[in-house]
């Protein structure tokens, strides 16, 4: 086990800079999820930690050792791939034992480790099978078993659940959590799925276009998104954004609409973006309303209902209890608690604190 440090890590393919300087400290035993949209460089970053991609500049440290120029096998890591990358012609046992065999461990030792991993992952009955005789979830477990038997300092997961169906994904998410709880190995987990990120992470790194937008616990990232990008990326449905100019009476939108919201004094006169999460909107009396939503469409989710509607020209979403069901065309007065409002700078997208 070891801590993992990234120091201003950059990666370019030719003239294109894919990773534009990422720094992060991952503590010993921590479970960190790197999350971001496709093409943000999260997988590349993980592959650089694994040693499968060269590092253009910066340093990666595992333990206290700079591993920039070490081969993957010498970095004391194990990786779980999205498509599992099991050796198709080897049995489950051989798949798990292969790395150990190369390292020259004694046969008994290998068998003990494989048995232990098989027990943890409940693969005991499947050891003699070939990967093609396994279901998706079982293959995924074998891939994790292959990582476990190496007893590495750091586990790397590259979107390991994205090839599974929704139900299995929930189950495997739970198993990964359990596994981390039992083994306590430092883990870096890459995903584009924010639900996975929120549920698994002790801390998450939100990336976009090669930079880290925010590093923090899931609760921090959700409650106090550092940038407009993070605010829009984390949370489903996405946060509502209302760009406008702040003044003493509230926020004047570009299309002329006006929001009677108490803008913090420090922000008066600036071009701002107001962010409100759909789930923080609630129906209220017309005189208390922040704004009135012209209902366009409803989506029933079961416990909740999503109301899509217009405020001026802005398309907004509110997540209300299913008891509310305004008819399309109906005007819906909505409000949100002042401490649930997020302010972002219109130009930079950075979070602005009210205080």
């Amino acid at each position: 086990m070891a801590k993992l440090q990234l120091r201003n890590v950059k990666k370019s393919f030719g003239n294109v800079e894919i990773i534009k300087g990422v720094s992060a400290d991952i503590a010993d035993g921590e479970f960190v999820v790197i999350v971001g949209p496709s093409g943000c460089g999260k997988s590349t970053l993980l592959r650089m930690i694994a040693g499968l991609e060269a590092i253009t500049s910066g340093e990666i440290l595992i333990g206290d050792r700079v591993v920039n120029n070490l081969e993957p096998k010498d970095r004391d890591i194990a990786m779980v791939f999205q498509n599992y990358a099991l050796y198709p012609h080897m049995s489950v046992r051989q798949n798990m034992a292969y790395g150990l065999k190369i390292r020259g461990l004694a046969k008994d030792d290998i068998e003990t480790r494989v048995q232990r991993a098989a027990k943890i992952l409940e693969l005991g009955d499947l050891l003699a099978r070939k990967p093609r005789e396994l279901s998706g979830g079982q293959r995924q477990r074998v891939a994790m078993g292959r990582a476990i038997v190496r007893e590495p300092s750091v586990f790397l997961f590259d979107e390991p659940l994205s090839n599974l169906d929704a139900k299995l994904r929930v189950q495997m998410r739970f198993e990964i959590q359990k596994l981390h709880h039992n083994l306590g190995t430092t883990s870096v987990y890459v995903t584009h799925d924010q639900v996975e990120a929120m549920t698994l992470a002790e801390r998450m790194v939100v990336m976009s276009a090669g930079i880290t937008e925010q590093i923090g616990s899931p609760a921090e990232v959700y409650q106090r998104p550092a940038t407009r990008f993070v605010a829009g990326f984390i949370g489903s449905p996405a946060m509502n954004f209302l760009p406008g100019r702040a003044d003493a009476t509230g926020l004047t939108l570009a299309d002329g609409g006006h929001l009677a919201v108490s803008v913090p004094a420090a922000l008066a006169g600036r071009e701002l973006v107001l962010g409100i999460r759909p789930e923080h909107l609630e129906v209220c009396a017309p005189q208390e309303a922040l704004f009135t939503l012209q209902t366009e469409m409803r989506e029933m989710l079961g416990a909740d209902i999503l109301i899509h509607g217009l405020f001026g020209k802005e398309l907004l979403v509110a997540r209300l209890s299913a008891a509310e069901h305004p008819a399309p065309g109906q005007a819906l007065p909505l409000r949100a608690l002042p401490d649930r409002l997020h302010w972002f700078d219109a130009a930079s997208g950075a979070r602005l604190e009210a205080a």
């Binding site: 096998k73 990786m79 791939f81 990358a85 050796y87 012609h89 093609r132």
Partner: protein, 282 residues
């Protein structure tokens, strides 16, 4: 297409049976001819049922060859053909799988140049380079040797190309997983790539064995001694031109013997072909 018209089924079967007869009948005639005496072959009509000389004819050609024709015993020539075909098939597979591995998994200067050079030679038939090749083999003193028979035919663009295409379908993650597991390049080749290529190798072996076995022009050039002839040349040699009579029964016996090994290879390897088609999962 699933059709249930009796007339159509009948037509299909008739067509298939006719095709089989067209292919198999000459083979059958050759077999029948190989079981009669030489004299019977000049009587009219030609026999359509096997005669009683089969064992005698086959024993004669295998041990002594054909009297009057300047060839070694067919047994010896079969052995020559076998050595040549096996060396060519195995050599081609070994060289081309290694060069395909290099081209797919390594980055080196002029990689694409080399690949295209190999690819372009695909278009050159053996006959185009046969004179310079002959000169090289002759200067190396390899005439009338097994090396001279087989080595010049080993380099193969086709097999390299086929293996390259197959390697490109192996997911990169497999190589990366092996790297993380600590496998060196050759270890990865030996433990992962080679076992995955088994069915491809088997299929290629069948094709290349038959290719090697059927070589005619090249063995004709590089062999001058009778005991280095291959069986394909031997058959031709047994049919002298001009006035002398031909022992057709013995020639046909040789022909039957000559086509046995390729047929056996196809029959025995057929299971691998099917396996190769079924096991596509990587």
């Amino acid at each position: 297409m699933i059709e249930h018209r009796p007339g159509f089924t009948f037509f299909c079967h008739a067509l298939l049976i006719a095709s089989i007869v067209v292919v198999a009948f000459p083979l059958y005639i050759a077999f029948v001819a190989s079981t009669h005496t030489a004299g019977r072959m000049f009587e009219f009509p030609l026999p359509l049922l096997p005669g009683g000389e089969m064992l005698h004819n086959y024993a004669t050609v295998l041990q002594h060859g054909v009297a009057g024709a300047s060839t070694a015993p067919v047994g010896r020539m079969m052995f020559n053909s076998l050595v040549m075909a096996l060396t060519i098939a195995i050599g081609k597979i070994a060289i081309s799988i290694l060069s395909a591995f290099a081209i797919v998994y390594f980055r080196f200067p002029l990689k694409n140049f080399f690949f295209w050079m190999i690819f372009i030679t695909l278009m050159l038939p053996v006959e185009v380079r046969i004179l310079p090749t002959y000169k090289v083999v002759a200067d190396l003193g390899l005439l009338d040797t097994y090396a001279g028979l087989s080595v010049p035919l080993i380099a193969s663009a086709t097999a390299t190309f086929l293996f390259r295409q197959f390697f490109l379908t192996i997911p990169d993650e497999l190589m990366e997983a092996a790297r993380i597991d600590g496998a060196s390049a050759l270890r990865f080749f030996w433990d992962i790539v080679l076992p995955l290529s088994k069915t491809n190798m088997a299929a290629l072996f069948v094709i290349l064995f038959i290719y090697g076995w059927n070589q005619y022009l090249w063995p004709l050039l590089v062999t001058t001694q009778e005991d280095m002839y291959t069986v394909v040349i031997g058959i031709k040699r047994m049919i002298p031109g001009g006035e002398s009579s031909v022992d057709w029964n013995l020639v046909m016996a040789t022909a039957m013997l000559a086509l046995t090994p390729p047929a056996l290879v196809v029959l025995l390897m057929q299971r691998w072909f099917v396996k190769g088609l079924v096991e596509t999962e990587k």
